[in-house]
Amino acid sequence: MAATKLARMANQIGSFFASEPDHALAMEGVASHLRRTWEPRMRLQLIAWMDETGGAELSPLVREAVLANRERLTTPTPRNPGPTA
């Protein structure tokens, strides 16, 4: 997916949470939304693009939220061991 499009989508998310007065909550809002609704390859591509370009097109809130939650955004969720029945 085009990184510029992912960046635009991420910035849109940031624009919603930017109005949250508590900065920590705003960061969590951005990170949580990306973690819970973006498919892994989208997250990985966004971060790869940030690593490559510095991600200057991202809003400060989004860039900060992504960097602060880099591991959470890139670490796969473990699968369950198997059906229980």
């Binding site: 997916m1 085009a2 499009k5 635009r8 989508m9 849109q12 998310i13 624009s15 919603f16 930017a18 109005s19 949250e20 007065p21 939304h33 819970r36 609704t37 973006w38 498919e39 892994p40 390859r41 989208m42 796969p76 969720t77 473990p78 699968r79 369950n80 061991p81 198997g82 059906p83 229980t84 029945a85």
Partner: protein, 937 residues
């Protein structure tokens, strides 16, 4: 009329709380105060003869056939207009009454053609029946006097005829048009013997009639008669089912002769529609047997090849082998699928199950992505459940009704009629919409406020409304502080109170006069019961989810939630879009809106589905298309969805579909998407299968098989067969077993079963041990999430801006006679009302461009161009143009962009900057350049 097999008590039951006991022909009966003697008699098992009375209408008292004798009273009062009284003794059959009734019937029959044997109503005619009931044997006046027998028949309407020679001027049609539909298209012209029913002095087709069928249903003779009955005769059996058009989910009686539907009649006992219908559900079902139906599977190596007709086994084997090949080569996540909001809950369930368990990923999405996904997000975040809060009946108790970005009389017509009735009864109406939609001003309906905002400024208007409510002390603080998180409420109050959110400050952004915003806010906040209804004009914006949140904020701060008459009510678009969402069609949520990362939830599914589920969210539809162009997504299974017509930025959609190695389309017709398909699996219409739909009020209604599937398989069977080929067998003998599985895995459905649906008729979820009869009203004692959550809704202008090159804003919508991409309605006589999509443009904008009414115009945006005819109208404000997307030739979505909602990627259909110019060659065909050729068969 209704089938004679149905009971009709003649008038509605009274609504009084006190009970009245009376004696009818020696039978004691107890009824609520306000009930008519006729209704009470019916309840006692006594059918009083009648012609002008029917229980769907108010009493009228004109036919004089329902006269009775009441002890202690003089004369022969009409039982339909006489209300019961305690201790009343009524006689419905006496020699005098019989004589009088025969006299009345004589007069009717003296001016009625005696062609019963060849009349289409023969055997199902109330006049014929009453003649028998009263024992009419001759007509003393003869049949040669003045009469109306030569009156010309009006056959202009494609679905029904009006034969005035058979009319008894009972006014049931006129009253149905007024009381039920609320259109006021019919009237009684003339006086005395010259009285006749008129569609406003013209024929039905040229009149204001919207062909809802209410008049036809109300007619006691063959005066208003369905053409299908004239052609085919009366039905031999009835199957109750649920309409497959809009999200109202009307209950219907499919009247069938052999395996052929001859009439669809709205079901009086259906709680979503209470016996009403619209032109689509009532009449536009002929697509089911249209010659364009594809009934055999087809495959081809490339979309450029001709289709090869093959057997089911070969088609499914090919489809499965392609999925497997692509996954082996490109990985498990290289494939995905789309569930259909037109299919049943059970079928949707199976598709997402196949994708999650068979494909092994969460790349599943549904058309809600492009309509109400922001509703799911916004209502879940604020209230705790991704669904509307009320039943439709609730609006009958509203004092103030706010309609935002919805056009109920066009998109949800049966609910629209209900809403209009409530406004006629005195409720105040506030409309927030860029267009002057019908309900802004109609006969006997007028909005107190029409906030005609600029497209894309919903959130600014909502914030301004909230500003007024909070700063003028109109909020229900006690409710908000008791039911919601107080800290969040206070933060929100501070936000909306900021001067920049005042109506005066936002006026420059929204174009709505501050005084109107203040007035509307005061009316809504001051209502005893204020209800908000909204549609895609709310959700299909870059701030769609924000606006849904803003609506929830308004309802919570005014205490308008948790009881009848209030609430937050999304008018869902397609028949089963609520159900498709409930059934787990979103890539980040398992059924019941539970996140895929939830270990326990996954485990519950894994134990039943015998697999290990992917814990990561999958791709949304737009993401799938982007990934296809990038090369990491190669195959898609699309059930009943035409993304190459309905989705935005069609050039992008087409390029993505063409980039895929395997596109499997399961549908009833070849469509725009199938032009890019490699496999076509012929689906079944709602008439050909069993299942359930869930409407906009969370009401689960049964879909019942009326005729055999033309392709030999229902859609649920096709998905099972495909799963089997993929090595993930899913075996069910009947959709009821799928529902049992749903009930076993979804906490909001644990009490749902086909047996209970048969018993109750329909059920509104949640239905479980706590609410075994279902839940008409949600959030009564507490919000589903516990404390209601106020969230800050900063207005952020869309990136789509007008410029000198694109100075107008395009917004899109629907029209009454057509449905969505038109695949069904375009294959019916409904095209008579809407043969093509047109561009509404304000006369001022048209004049500036030298555009006249009916001119062909070029509509151009930053991403595409199309061509259509101009309609000059003041429904749109200067600077705004509007069109529909029902016809593929128009390709309206060529011009819409890929901008989308921040939270859900729901496309911003409602705001596209465009330019409109008079097309240079007015004689050229409207077909736009660049449209792909239709795939051959």
């Amino acid at each position: 009329m209704y089938s004679v097999k149905e009971q009709d008590a003649g008038t509605p039951e009274g609504t009084g709380t006190a009970l009245v006991t009376l004696d009818v022909d020696g039978r004691m009966v107890i009824v609520p105060e306000g009930t008519s003697v006729m209704h009470a008699a019916s309840k006692a098992g006594v059918q009083v003869p009648k012609l002008c009375a029917t229980e769907t209408l108010g009493a009228f008292g004109s036919c004089r056939l329902c006269i009775v004798e009441i002890e202690g009273r003089r004369g022969f009062p009409s039982s339909c207009t006489t209300l019961v009284q305690e201790g009343m003794k009524v006689h419905t059959q006496t020699p005098k009454l019989a004589e009088l009734r025969r006299g009345v019937m004589e007069l009717y029959i003296s001016d009625h053609p005696l062609d019963c044997l060849t009349c289409p109503s023969n055997g199902n005619c109330e006049l014929q029946e009453m003649a028998g009931v009263v024992g009419l044997r001759d007509v003393r006046y003869g049949l040669k006097g003045s009469n109306h027998l030569e009156a010309a028949k009006d056959e202009s309407n494609p679905y029904f005829t009006f034969d005035p020679s058979k009319c008894i001027v009972c006014s049931r049609c006129v009253r149905a048009c007024e009381e039920i539909q609320g259109t006021f298209a019919l009237t009684v012209e003339g006086r005395g013997f010259d009285s006749r029913i008129s569609a406003g002095g013209t024929d039905f087709m040229s009149s204001e009639c919207v062909s809802c069928g209410a008049c036809v249903q109300a007619c006691p003779t063959a005066t208003l008669m369905e053409k299908t009955i004239i052609e085919n005769g009366q039905p031999d059996h009835v199957v109750k089912t649920t309409c497959a058009y809009c999200g109202v989910g009307c209950s219907f009686r499919a009247e069938v002769k052999g395996n052929e539907v001859v009439r669809m009649v709205p079901d009086k006992t259906g709680l979503a529609n209470e016996g009403h219908s619209c032109v689509k559900g009532r009449f536009a079902w002929g697509y089911a047997t249209h010659k364009d139906r594809v009934t055999t599977p087809m495959i081809r190596k490339s979309p450029d090849d001709a289709w090869q007709i093959v057997g089911w086994a070969e088609a499914l084997r090919y489809a499965a082998s392609e999925i497997q090949r692509i996954q082996e080569k490109h990985g498990r996540a290289a494939v995905g699928g789309i569930t259909s909001s037109r299919c049943t809950n059970e079928e949707t369930w199976l598709v997402q199950k196949l994708i999650r368990a068979g494909f092994g990923n969460n790349n599943v999405d549904t058309c809600a992505r492009v309509c109400h996904s922001p509703t799911g997000y916004g209502l879940k975040a604020t209230l705790g459940e991704s669904a509307g809060t009320q039943d439709f009946e609730s609006v009958d108790h509203s004092d103030v009704i706010v309609v935002i970005g919805a056009n109920p009389t066009q998109g949800h017509p049966v609910f629209g009629s209900r809403l209009k009735r409530r406004v006629r009864e005195g409720a105040k109406l506030i409309v927030i919409d860029p267009r002057a939609i019908d309900i802004v001003r109609q006969p006997h309906v007028e909005a107190s406020y029409h906030l005609q905002l600029r497209p894309g400024t919903n959130v600014a208007v909502a914030n301004a409304l909230a500003h007024v409510i909070v700063t003028e002390g109109l909020a229900d603080d006690a409710f908000a502080r008791a039911r919601c998180d107080v800290a969040e409420y206070d933060t929100w109050r501070a936000f909306v109170s900021e001067p920049r959110n005042s109506p005066e400050a936002t006026e420059a952004i929204t174009g709505v006069p501050a005084a109107s915003v203040r007035g509307a806010a005061r009316v809504y906040a001051g209502a005893r019961n204020g209800a908000i209804y909204y549609g895609l004009g709310v959700t299909e914006h870059s701030q769609g989810s924000t606006m849904v949140i803003a609506i929830a904020n308004l309802a919570m701060c005014t205490g308008n939630i948790g009881r009848t008459g209030v609430g937050v009510n999304p008018l869902r678009g397609q028949n089963n879009v609520q159900g498709a969402c409930d059934m787990g069609s979103f890539p980040h949520e398992l059924p019941g809106y539970r996140h895929v990362s939830d270990v326990g939830v996954r485990a519950s599914f894994e134990s039943v589905w015998h697999t290990i589920l992917d814990p990561e969210p999958g791709l949304r539809l737009p993401n799938m298309l982007d990934a296809a162009l990038e090369g990491s997504f190669r195959a898609i299974y699309i059930q009943g969805e035409d993304i190459a017509q309905s989705d935005p930025d069609l050039h992008h959609v087409e390029a993505a579909l063409r980039a895929m190695e395997c596109v499997i389309v399961q549908d009833i017709f070849l469509n725009e998407t199938s032009k890019f398909a490699h496999v076509f699996l012929p689906g079944a219409t709602f008439l050909e299968k069993d299942g359930t739909f869930t409407n906009a009020e969370r009401r689960i209604g049964r879909v019942r098989k009326v005729m055999p599937s033309l392709s030999g398989m229902a859609d649920w069977e096709i998905t099972c067969a495909l799963a089997r080929e993929l090595g993930y067998p899913m075996h069910y003998d009947h959709p009821s077993q799928i529902m049992d599985e749903i009930a076993s895995l979804m906490p909001t459905f644990t009490g749902v079963s086909y047996a209970k649906l048969d018993e109750m008729g329909s059920i509104q979820w949640p239905c479980n041990d706590e609410t075994p009869e279902g839940t008409p009203i949600m959030h009564v004692e507490a919000f589903v999430r516990g404390k209601g959550r106020f969230m800050i809704t900063e207005f952020v202008a869309t990136e789509e801006r007008v410029t000198p090159m694109y100075p107008l804003l395009l917004t899109t919508g629907r029209i009454l006679s057509q449905y969505n991409v038109g695949a069904q309605t375009r294959r019916t006589e409904n095209v008579r009302w809407h043969p093509e999509d047109v561009l509404e443009i304000h006369p001022h904008d048209a004049e500036e461009r030298g555009i006249n009414q009916g001119d062909q115009v070029a509509l151009k945006s930053r991403v595409g161009e199309t061509r259509l005819r101009a309609e000059l109208t003041e429904r749109v404000q200067p600077g705004v143009v509007y069109t529909t997307f029902h016809h593929p030739v128009t390709r309206a979505n060529v011009v819409t962009t890929d901008l989308s909602d921040w939270a859900t990627n729901c496309p911003e259909y409602k705001v596209t900057a465009v330019q409109v110019r008079r097309a240079p060659n007015q004689d050229a065909a409207l077909a736009p350049a660049g449209a792909p050729e239709i795939g051959g068969k």
